[in-house]
Symmetry: D2
Subunit: 358 residues, 4 copies
């Protein structure tokens, strides 16, 4: 029997990209059935009235999430805005057969105080948070497989952690600087003047210099990783890392350029080997060879992460690049990968096409 899937918030960039992936998969295998698409503003409409690319896809009409028969759904993807998700998921949670992959930030931070500090309000469902599993697929597979509520990581948080976690105990964390650049779709389909075509076209600019929320996920990941390695200081503190995002004049893609000082005895080649070893067996993460660097176009439309570990001019330092498609590995693609893990399927099931080039 096919897995019955619903998407809450199907008309945003994240939700529609996830749907694109699901339709590709449905065209290939018979293991997926899309049973509900919700939208609070457009309930009653067809999704194709909002997003004409889905015309003819044979999809259910948009409905209110309250009207869905959740007992007849196996997996719910929640692509609602941050802050509105906790209470919705608290209601879905009662359906014990339901697996939930949440693409919002609402369940990503295990420390409730940290959530409050970064998101500016108290967590609405603190009792539910401990049940959430952070969905960085390559690093948390076993827990994801057993989880009913998966908090899909942020786009920057995915690209940064995939590059940093394997070497977290081999660099001086206090020297880590991550200059990141994202395509405009990372900001969602928001009606903001600074996201108008004529404002971002032929433009490039830093933003959120006061501190981007994905830093909280990255530092949580570092703490978790050091603890796993038994290298966490007694006080549980981890050095802050620096992260500066920029907006790029293109649709999709994230590039992280990371600079760090290596700990004594480490070498660039050594770090590349460690990185390569860390992702051996991973179908989506590739560590490039010496002399190679990633480009955003090469990951466009794929669930891949390309990593490169390169020499720095300064002895003892290293430069690492990490490239993903923010809507795929940074959102909908990783959500699908997590669904595969939850369902006990091969991670790459339903992914197929390579990068759309040119």
């Amino acid at each position: 029997m096919p897995c019955r899937v619903a998407i809450l918030g199907a008309s945003g960039y994240t939700g529609s990209e996830l749907l694109r992936c699901l339709l590709l998969r449905r065209s290939v295998a018979d293991d997926i059935e899309i049973v509900a698409l919700t939208s609070s503003r457009r309930a009653g409409c067809q999704l194709s009235e909002v997003l004409p690319q889905f015309s003819g896809a044979g999809l259910p009409a948009l409905s209110l999430w309250e009207d869905v028969d959740w007992g007849a759904v196996d997996v719910a993807f929640c692509a609602l805005p941050h802050g509105t998700t906790q209470e919705v998921i608290a209601k879905l949670w009662r359906h014990e057969g339901l697996k939930i992959v949440d693409l919002s930030a609402d369940f990503r931070l295990h420390d409730l105080a940290m959530y409050e500090r970064w998101y500016g309000k108290a967590h609405a469902t603190p009792a539910l948070q401990p049940h959430a599993c952070y969905g960085l697929s390559e690093w948390n597979k076993d827990r994801i497989a057993k989880s009913r509520l998966i908090a899909n990581p942020g786009c920057y948080a995915t690209a940064c952690q995939l590059s940093l976690l394997p070497v977290a105990d081999r660099v001086e964390l206090g020297t880590v600087f991550m200059s990141a650049a994202s395509g405009v779709s990372g900001a969602g389909r928001s009606l903001r003047e600074d996201l108008l075509y004529c404002e971002m076209n032929e433009n490039f600019r830093p933003y959120a210099t006061g501190g981007h929320r994905h830093i909280a996920e990255i530092e949580q990941g570092l703490r978790w990783r050091l603890k796993e390695l038994d290298k966490l200081e007694a006080d549980g503190k981890v050095s802050s890392v620096s992260f500066v995002p920029h907006l790029l004049p293109l649709d999709r893609g994230i590039m992280v350029t990371l600079s760090a000082k290596m700990l004594g005895g480490e070498s660039v080649d050594g770090l590349r080997r460690v990185m390569t070893e860390a992702y051996r067996g991973s179908v989506f993460v590739e560590v490039l060879g010496e002399g190679e660097v990633p480009s955003l176009k090469r990951v466009r439309g794929t669930n891949n992460c390309l990593l490169a570990v390169c020499e720095d001019r300064r002895d003892g330092w290293v430069v690492i690049f990490s490239a993903i498609d923010n809507l795929m590995k940074g959102a909908g693609g990783q959500a699908l990968q997590n669904m595969n893990i939850v369902l006990g399927m091969e991670e790459e099931t339903g992914f197929g096409g390579g990068a759309l080039l040119p």
Copy 2:
């Protein structure tokens, strides 16, 4: 047993897009095996050395086409430059079990004099030309199914004919004006100064105002269609149509904006009905409803053609829009569709994903 496929000229935009489609299909079904990829300049290399997006895809190394064991190939896609293809295909032709889908222009024109006039040299294999079948899938399916040599149509020729053929006997052909715009990938991966990023970015310009070669295909299609309708004049002459291409600052997509005067008694609504009827049952061609118009992003990465039939301000005239992805329905996608027809499979086999949006 899977169909054994080869691509001649795999490193151009057309060849690599075809390969992307084949890999997507291979990931889905087990009915395709890629047995050879040829390149005259890079034989001996891996394709991924030239196009790193194909690293890890498990592809055969690039070889010379002369070195391929064509007896062990079922379908050859030929994505070589115009003019160099005729003699290559003449050699492949001897392998009777081999089906050939040629993406060049070398076999598209049945009239050898017409070929010579538009391409500036005599056809090199005139005896072979009569065996070629013009591969406009929706209009020539029965012949394609029985053919061993399919001449895949040009990108503009596809978009124009799909809009024009259904109404060829309902408009005054002498009034047909087609203003077309194509993404830069239509020009291929040629090292031309006018195709450099800084030349085409933020630019838009007409070209080939002296007459684009795809006009020959369009007029051949019109003649064939009128003959089929028994409306060809006794002298076999068809009014010239006008076609003006422009280059757009984007990667892929073709939009044709067609203006024509309708014959007496015809109406815009009537033409839309005729158009809709013509493509009933077609999986890739969609005629939009009144008030809708296509956009290039909506067909990006798909094999679809979107058509719209709209009112003109002038009584008795009509405006028709036709949108395709020039690398898909305009090249590699239609080639794959034709392979499906030749192999007796459902036309949409192996196509899956919707448009890459955003």
Copy 3:
């Protein structure tokens, strides 16, 4: 004494482009003083708070237009939205020393019924309309020079008329089809979802297929021109012409691709000569030689219009291209040109730089 200039609505794309031109001019000559910039929403702020590129330019703070001392202003540029301008200008009109260049559509149509039909409401100041002079600089210079209220033409209307007026009596107007494409800035800084970066990037699409308002200006121009040539029919009727706009994925520029059947006895070379003759002496309009075509990048940031008259494949037909920068010759640049005419200065005063390339 320098000319005292004000801009109403300085923070839109049109107003700010005009200001950019005025600042360039001020840096060159001492004949301009910018005395007022108005904004209804941001009165009291500095313009540089909204548009930081103007920081340090030594500009007056934004004010309400009602608070400006109009008796101390020589030229007012009105860059307010359509429909809100008529009543504002009616108040400014009382200041007899004031020259007004209106960049909105509110005074462009002399026929009040036509205005009502295209803009969906009655003209608010019908008594004032007869005083307005249509500001297509190259065609109306003498009247502009004597006018106190100049209705600056629409962007498409400028590009279309510059190509069509010289040959209005040499083509069959009923066959005129204009396929036009504009950069996104033509839509202004409107918070519309379809103008977000990710919606228009890598996209191209027709719009306003039901009839764009600039058609009214174009047909008014044709009527005026035929009358001037004494070729207007007795009933004053002029054939409708067809105009289909598209949106391009770039910031600025308009290309019109015009198809028409020539009247008996006319030739493409002849039309090119007529066109060349029509703009002899014009500093901003250039008719390209045989075989040349314009490109949008070549006019970017300039007040130039490039025209090309080309062969059509159909005997007796012609293709004409017209390229402008929609924010310059299509808005702010032509407004400045009109100011120069009104002030009795050389038309090119204060224009200088060539196209920004690349």
Copy 4:
């Protein structure tokens, strides 16, 4: 009498941008006469045959540099490729009345060994090198004013040094990491496959990770600055700094994102004050206030450098942004600024227009 100016290598992006600036200036003031434009490949042609945007500008025909009467030239701008310039300038040098502004890298490095190491060959005119003055206008004005041979800095070197020199003695140089991103015009009009439109559009990628040549200029600048401050170590050594360039999908602009650890006792606000003080009186360099960051579109087409000094999450660290137009302040604009200094004119003479926005 106007200054007689020549450009060697007028058809590249750098030379043509310089010419655009000179034409703007000529249109404003009568102090410039363009007496020669050279091109080795196109001598005898009009520049407008290669670059049609210059048609009608009243320019001299392209000539061989050997055929120019250098005795009748006051200022020569040399925009030839690296490596071919030294011997040309050696010949020009004999004309004692001639001032030379060289936009190539051939005379930027005072240390001949350093030149050989970074450019892979011995300096061809070592005796001439000591006469060259490094033309970073804001930091070397007095020497530029007295020089006959000015080595215009590299584009990245300009953006990096303008941000780094004011604080060179206040940060730990060994911690300086500069992640930079440049528009594609920085690579010049080279026929390289990776610079084709379809390769760079929708793409973003690092390059030159093995070490970009502009690093040599930056470290030379740091050494010079520390010496000036009497803070150079006895051995003359300066810590290496790290610099990683990326290519952006836009025409023009460079953004440098610099991370550094401050020396004890320094603060972000303090560094911002130092920076602001350093450029007090500079007409082209602006230090933004707290909370503001630059964007590339805001400097497009201008000679401005925008700097911002921002908090880092890590105590004791700082992030600095530096934005320029690579063809202006990074090439042709700074060359013109240097000409103004050499001629004893106001630095801003002939610069006028603000950023081209949108």
